[in-house]
Chain length 494, copies 2
């Protein structure tokens, strides 16, 4: 059948993508450049564009075109594009506008108040706002669950990690919970017997920035299509043609910004290498949050903290911060691989990180499915922190259940992506090593491009053509298997 509806969809999604471009740049500017007085006008401008995008996407014509295009003679890629278009349409069109607006208002209110409430450890002030966000997120989950025929939590999970389910996560995470606590304890014990030297600061911001740019260069970041800037919360934003990554600098600590930049460079290279022939179309987008995180963790953890990479980074570090005893290869590797269970997820090492995620997953799933209420969170948080990491957060809300921004604006279902990403990354690195017999020689020679080419070939260039499960199976020869993550941790830390 002739193509009539499909080209209309392509044009609609191209328009939406161009508007998203402006909203991405204005959002980046808001976090990096905007003076405080511009905040209200910027918020109004972005909200106005958001309303317009929602109207364009949920227009009845779009639904009708999607139905009609189903019957049209499409290539395999076009059919994948149509599948992703339908996904975007269903996701946006399911919710009544009143709920979208109520969620946005409640989320804004909760997040805004949280910024000071967290500083003041004010759970009593925070809880009523969070209850309202939870109430609306449950409403959203119920609508999505009914349409998809799945559980409420699964319906939210699907927004960030299409195809993933709570049942699958339970199996994966049960496996992690079986071996990770003892492995963590072994690593901590082992490292206790071999202390390492701390680098001596201060580390001036300008030199740290310069080092970050150098690392980005080693990692193949395309500076013709991207930038590095500063924001309170690091992120990778912008558009594939112009990727904006950010970090924050602490002049007492050279590692935090450096590995933050390496992490965001992983996100950035994925974006910069998405299929250009599908630019602006849903099939050209990154596959999922979990796959995105797999790329940042591939760069930060698999490659970035390996001796092979660190030996090539060290000369640049010594050049900027002096030839300190802490900057021998052995010490610097040991220091980059230090494991120390702590309260804060974003500061966690890769061995203790999954415990933070599993704890949040278990709580947010029970919360959305209605098995617990907001009042139950602090108690559960403390119980699980004690169980998984041996730390108590009783009464310490700011470093406990109030530390993350995600729940404040209703981002339930996002947290599992972090640990899925860590598992995908380990499985991908193992597959790359099998596929590239000379990989270690290349890495030791500072030749990282075979590894990046393998990622381009197997992940980046595919955008959203395949499901996550298909993509992973094609790249690695098997489904997601947490053994690769365990093998990675065992090989590196024990």
């Amino acid at each position: 059948m002739e193509k009539h509806a499909y080209p209309q969809l392509v044009r609609t999604f191209q328009r939406l993508s161009r508007f998203s471009h402006l909203s991405a740049i204005a959002g980046w500017d808001m976090a990096t450049m905007m003076p405080p007085g511009g905040s209200r006008a910027r918020g109004e401008a972005l909200a106005e564009l958001g309303v317009l995008q929602h109207q364009l996407l949920t227009d009845k014509k779009v639904g009708a075109w999607i139905e009609a295009a189903q019957q049209e003679d499409l290539s395999e890629d076009e059919r994948a594009n149509l599948r992703e278009m339908r996904r975007a349409y269903d996701q946006a069109a399911l919710l009544p506008e009143s709920l979208v607006e109520a969620k946005s208002l409640a989320g804004n209110r909760c997040e805004h108040a949280w910024r000071s409430q967290r500083k003041n450890n004010d759970w009593q002030g925070f809880a009523p706002n969070l209850k309202e966000v939870v109430r609306l997120s449950r409403e959203e989950a119920a609508i999505r669950a009914e349409a998809k025929g799945c559980s409420r939590y699964d319906a939210l999970l699907d927004i960030y990690e299409p195809g993933m389910t709570g049942a699958r996560l339970d199996v994966l995470f049960a496996d992690l919970k079986r071996w990770l606590p003892s492995l963590l304890q072994e690593v901590v014990d082992k490292q206790a017997s071999r202390p390492c030297l701390d680098p001596q600061g201060p580390f001036p911001t300008e030199k740290q920035r310069d080092l970050g740019l150098h690392a980005m260069g080693l990692l193949g970041f395309d500076f013709d299509r991207g930038r590095l800037d500063i924001s309170a919360h690091p992120f990778c934003g912008g558009v594939p043609e112009d990727v904006r990554i950010t970090t924050r600098y602490n002049e007492d600590d050279v590692l935090s910004a450096l590995f933050g930049v390496i992490h965001e460079t992983g996100h950035a290279r994925y974006e910069q290498n998405l299929p250009p022939q599908w630019a602006g179309q849903p099939v050209g987008h990154a596959r999922s949050m979990g796959v995105h995180e797999s790329q940042s963790l591939f760069f930060e953890m698999q490659l970035g903290r390996s001796p092979a990479f660190l030996q090539h980074l060290l000369p640049a570090i010594r050049q900027r911060f002096g030839d300190q005893p802490a900057f021998t290869l052995d010490n610097f590797v040991a220091w980059s691989q230090r494991v120390k269970p702590g309260y804060i997820r974003v500061d966690a090492d890769e061995v203790s990180y999954p415990a933070h995620v599993i704890l949040r997953y278990e709580i947010e799933r029970a919360l959305i499915d209605g098995d617990i209420e907001v009042e139950d969170i602090p108690g559960l948080w403390d119980e699980k922190m004690q169980q998984y990491l041996g730390l108590s957060t009783a009464g310490n809300y700011q470093n406990g259940c109030m530390q993350d921004i995600h729940w404040t604006d209703g981002g339930f279902g996002y947290f599992p992506s972090y640990t899925l990403g860590a598992m995908y990354a380990a499985q991908l690195f193992s597959a790359a090593r099998r596929a590239l017999p000379d990989l270690d020689a290349h890495l030791n020679a500072g030749n990282f491009s075979p590894l990046f080419n393998w990622l381009r070939q197997n992940i980046w260039q595919h955008g959203s053509r395949f499901t996550t499960a298909e993509l992973l199976t094609m790249a690695t020869g098997e489904e997601l298997n947490s053994d690769f993550f365990r093998q990675h941790l065992t090989a590196r830390y024990l």
Copy 2:
């Protein structure tokens, strides 16, 4: 009559203003932050938003509301807002969408390529892009001219300086051409007999930037609602709530960036002090490009290069660049008021500046009216430069006809605003001096706020409530009169 249509118009223009906000920030980013590879996607995104804005503004409903609102019971300010809405509607509704989009794309392409072509003196590369821009601008001018019943060039002039005509400019510029060349020669001769000392560089960019920020502070720039950055061609952009000014630095020259910043600060203070109660509405906009330029020249020329201001700036200069012999007050004033005909408009002193503008006015008017072609520009440029300023630009495109950004994206009709601005500024300063008997004492004491308050009272707070002619007459007691400009130049330089 009840108000029905007018509130709809207010909502429509509010939406348009929010979209303009995003386009202003994305445009600023393009000039200051964007890496070159982002150019095409950004151009497409801005063009897409431009098309949307054009559709919203030219919707038949808007035309009908404007007609209906005419009969409604409006306040005087609302009526002025309606007048400006009609002006915006008429201006936009005339052009077919295809032309708007083609102009935006061709302008983006030409401007972006110009950035490197100018550096390479590449007229051959630049000319074909410019021809396309000229072709589309002529098309635009023809459509506007037919609707307004005026000449093609007048139709473009009216976009930037409503109410102004080529015939009026011919009279004003003929007057300038009568007395300015001899005045210029007299000044040059006079200054030749009294050479001044050059400040000794280099002047590091970071210190120049810091000095610029200091000058902005003296001049009342609100840093809570604005920034200073770097771009190839200095401008004042952003939105009233967040004004983005730019400059460029030459480490051998401390004056150029400093007075550039002072100039843009004049634009910025106008924007930052537009009537907040009319934010987002046409009546809340700055009156015209000429009035805008009058504010920047008021800051740069009338105030900025006066001994009264310079004595207060000098300590900051000495602090950053040493207590050089060139930084005595007498020498620094003489140096800031040096008159030297040169190639570059933006570096020109206020005595030779009008020659640069008249040259461009004569060329662009002939170009738009079809009397000359793009190929004729370099020859005419050389001829007029020799005639007005005694300088040849033969083969020197980068410092000749390729030096300005204006024509690259079709801004024909803009240049006269600069010299209209200089004349308005002289007339305004003279009126302020009459209105504020203690002005000189205040300025000598470093108290600039009475002068700024006078500008706020007489210019800034009015937005577009009055026509330019009304605004100038209310502020100064008479119509535009080039005598004030002559008197200013005579008093300062002879």
